[in-house]
Point group: C2
Chain length 393, copies 2
C-alpha cells in the first residue's frame, strides 16, 4: 500500500477538515464548554452538555496543541472546556455528572466514564498549558484515584441489577482504564498508572478475550465463563477492536510483549466476526451464538466502530508487517471514506443503516463529538509516518 499517500491523507483530513469543523462550530463562548449536537452543516440543534464528549474534546484539542501544532486557538478552546468541567462537572463527592444543561446545571447523575474521559482531558490540558494549569493536573489525578477506588467494588447506585445475583464482569471499565492509565502515564510521573493499567489489561486478557473462540466478550462471569444470556452472548466488534489496540499500546509502552502478542492474534478473528459480508462495514452488536440480539440497532454502522478498526488494523500491521492487516486497513479505509465522510460540509456522519445510507443527518450528538475521528486520524497519521520512515510502505 502507498503509505506516504495515506499518511498525507490522514494528516490533511485531521488538520484541514475535522479539527476546523469542531473549532468553528462547537465552542459555547457564552456559557463555556462545547456544543456537540451539531447538524450536518455544524449548526447547533440541542444545547445540552454531555460530560463524556466535553472531557474528550478537551483531550483532543490539548493533544493537538501539544503534539501537532502550537496554535493558540487550540489551547484557548481546550481551556474553555477544561474550566467548564472544573466549574460545573463535579458533584459534592468529586464525581462527574453525566449531563448538564447549557449553563452548567446538572440534570443527569454521575457516571464513572465521565470521570475517566474528563481525567484524560484535564491531564492532557495540564500538559499542554504548563504551570498555569496545575489545577487541572491535580483535578485529573484526584479523579483518576477516585476511579481506581471505584474499580474495587464497581458499585453503581443506579443499576437495576440485584447485587450478588448473576455476578458479571464488564469489560468497559477495564478497557477505558487501560487507555486512561496509559495517557496519564505519559504526562504525570507516578508508578500507579502502570500498575493499575496493567492490572486492567490482565483482567481483560484473562476474562474477556476468548482466544479459543477468537472473540472478545463484553460481559463474563467472574471466572470468565460465558453465561447463555443476552448480556453474556453479546459481542461488540467496535469495543473489541478498540480494546485490542489499547492492549497493544499498553503492552508496548509497559514492556509486556505477551500482551501485545495476545491482542494482535485476536484481531483477525474479531474483524471477520464483526464484518457484514452482505453490505460491508462492521456490525454494532452481534450475538456470539447466532441468536437474535436484544439491541434493535445491532446492524447499524457506527463511525466509532470503524475508527477503532482503522487504528487496530494499522497498529497490528506496524507490529507484524503481515499483509492481512494492510489489506483489512485498506478495506475499512475504502468503506469508511466512501460512506461516513461528508465532502460537502466536512467531518463524518456518525450513523449509517446496514446498507450504508445515512441514518441520522448530523455530525454530533449525545455520544458523537470531537474524539474518535480526530484521534483515529492523528494515530493513523503517526503510524503511517512511522511505517514510511521504517521503509515498510
Amino acid at each position: 500500500m502507498d503509505i506516504a499517500r495515506y499518511a498525507e491523507f490522514y494528516r490533511d483530513k485531521l488538520l484541514d477538515d475535522v479539527i476546523p469543523f469542531w473549532v468553528r462550530h462547537s465552542p459555547d463562548r457564552d456559557c463555556g464548554g462545547y456544543f456537540t449536537c451539531l447538524d450536518r452543516t455544524g449548526k447547533v440543534y440541542d444545547t445540552d452538555k454531555f460530560m463524556w464528549p466535553q472531557g474528550r474534546q478537551v483531550w483532543v484539542l490539548s493533544k493537538m496543541y501539544r503534539h501537532v501544532r502550537q496554535e493558540q486557538e487550540y489551547l484557548d478552546l481546550a481551556r474553555l472546556g477544561a474550566e467548564f468541567i472544573r466549574d460545573h462537572g463535579f458533584d459534592e463527592n468529586g464525581n462527574i455528572y453525566f449531563a448538564l444543561e447549557r449553563d452548567g446545571k446538572a440534570y443527569a447523575n454521575t457516571c464513572i466514564f465521565s470521570d475517566c474521559f474528563c481525567a484524560m482531558g484535564l491531564a492532557e490540558y495540564a500538559a499542554a498549558a504548563g504551570s498555569e494549569a496545575d489545577w487541572a493536573r491535580d483535578l485529573a489525578m484526584k479523579t483518576y484515584r477516585g476511579v481506581q477506588d471505584w474499580l474495587v467494588n464497581k458499585e453503581d447506585p443506579y443499576s437495576r441489577f440485584i447485587p450478588g445475583v448473576r455476578p458479571t464482569e464488564s469489560m468497559a471499565f477495564d478497557m477505558i482504564n487501560v487507555n486512561m492509565s496509559l495517557e496519564l502515564d505519559s504526562i504525570i510521573n507516578d508508578p500507579l498508572f502502570r500498575q493499575c493499567g496493567l492490572a486492567s489489561a490482565e483482567r481483560i486478557l484473562n476474562l474477556h478475550v476468548d482466544r479459543k473462540e477468537g472473540l472478545v466478550f463484553d460481559n463474563v462471569a467472574p471466572d470468565g465463563a460465558h453465561p447463555d444470556t443476552f448480556g453474556g452472548r453479546v459481542i461488540l466488534p467496535g469495543h473489541a477492536l478498540e480494546c485490542l489496540w489499547f492492549l497493544i499500546s499498553a503492552g508496548d509502552a509497559w514492556g509486556r510483549s505477551d500482551i501485545v502478542t495476545a491482542a494482535i492474534e485476536t484481531i483477525p478473528d474479531m474483524l471477520e466476526f464483526g464484518w457484514d459480508e452482505k453490505y460491508g462495514g462492521f456490525f454494532y452488536y452481534r450475538d456470539a451464538a447466532g441468536k437474535p440480539p436484544e439491541q434493535l440497532e445491532w446492524d447499524r454502522k457506527l463511525w466509532w466502530v470503524h475508527c477503532e478498526a482503522l487504528v487496530a488494523t494499522l497498529l497490528a500491521y506496524k507490529h507484524t508487517g503481515r499483509a492481512e492487516f494492510a489489506e483489512w486497513f485498506e478495506k475499512v479505509h475504502e468503506y469508511t471514506w466512501d460512506r461516513f465522510a461528508d465532502p460537502e460540509h466536512g467531518e463524518w456522519f456518525g450513523y449509517l443503516d446496514r446498507g450504508g445510507e445515512v441514518l441520522l443527518n448530523m455530525k454530533g450528538g449525545k455520544w458523537k463529538g470531537c474524539f474518535h475521528l480526530p484521534r483515529t486520524l492523528h494515530v493513523c497519521w503517526q503510524l503511517l509516518d512511522d511505517l514510511s520512515a521504517d521503509g515498510q510502505g
Copy 2:
C-alpha cells in the same frame, strides 16, 4: 370494507394461529411461568423470565378463557403463570421484579410496569378461575393500590436523573394506569378504579395530547410545555395510538364523551405523522421538530406499534363511521399481514427494518410475548363483529 370477512380473519388468526403458538411453545412446565424468547419456529433460545410478558400472558390466557372459549388448557396455563408471579415475582416490599432467572431467582430489580402488567394478569386470572383464585384477586388489588401510591411521587431509585432538576411528566405511567384501571374495573367492584383511571386520563389530555400540533408528547414539563431537549421532542407513534385508544375506551366506559372526542380527533394527525411515506409502516420514534432522534432504532417497524394502530383506527371507525378511519385500518392491515406475519411457522415477527425486511428472526424476546398481537386480534374481532351487527359493514 368487507367487515364480515375481516371479522372472520381476525378470529381465525387468534384462535388457529397466535394462541396455539404460545400454548404450544411457551409454557415452562418444570419451573413455572412462560418462556418468551422463542425463535422463528417457537424453539426457546433464552430461558430468562421477564415479568412484563409473564403478567401479560396470564392476562391474555385468562381473557381467552373468560371471554372466548372455556378451554381448560387456557386456564391451566394461566394458572402456571399466575402462580409463578405469586411465588417468585414479588420483592419484600410487594413490588414486582423486572427479570428472573428460569427457576425464579430475581436478578433485575423492581419496575412499576411489572406491577401494572402483573396486576392486570392476576385480576383477569381471578375472574377466570373463580373463587379458588381469591388469592390472585387480593394480590392484584394490593399491587394496584401500590401503583396508585407510587404515582403520587413517581420515585425511581434507579433513575440517573437528578430529582427536582428539569422536572418531567412521562405519559407511560398514566397511559398504563388508564388501561389497568379499566381492566380491573370490569372485574372488581371498587370506585377507586374509575377515580384513578379518569385522573390519569385527564392528566394525559391536559399535558401530553397537544391538540394544536396534533401530536402526543411522551415527556412534557409539569405545565405541559415541550422542552427543546431529546426527551422533550421525542414522539412515539405507537405509544400515542395505543394511549388514544385507551382513552376512547375509558371515556366510553366511564361516560366521558369529551375524552372520547378529544382522543378520536388526535388520531388522524398521529397516523399521518407516524407513517413512513417512503416504505410504509409506522416509525418507532420521531423528533417533533424534525431534529435527529437519539434512538438509533428510530426507523424500525415494530409489531406492537402496528397492532395499536389497527385497534385505534378500527375503534375510531366504530365511533365515527368516518371513511378515513376505515381506509387507515385497511392500509395498516395490508402492511402488517404482508410483512409481520409468518405463514410458515405462525405468529408474527416482531421487528422489521425500515424497508420491511425481517430484522430479528424470532417470535418473542425480552419485550415481545403473548400480548399485543392476541389482544389486537381479539379486540379487532369484537369490534368487527359489533360493526357487522350494526350494519356498518
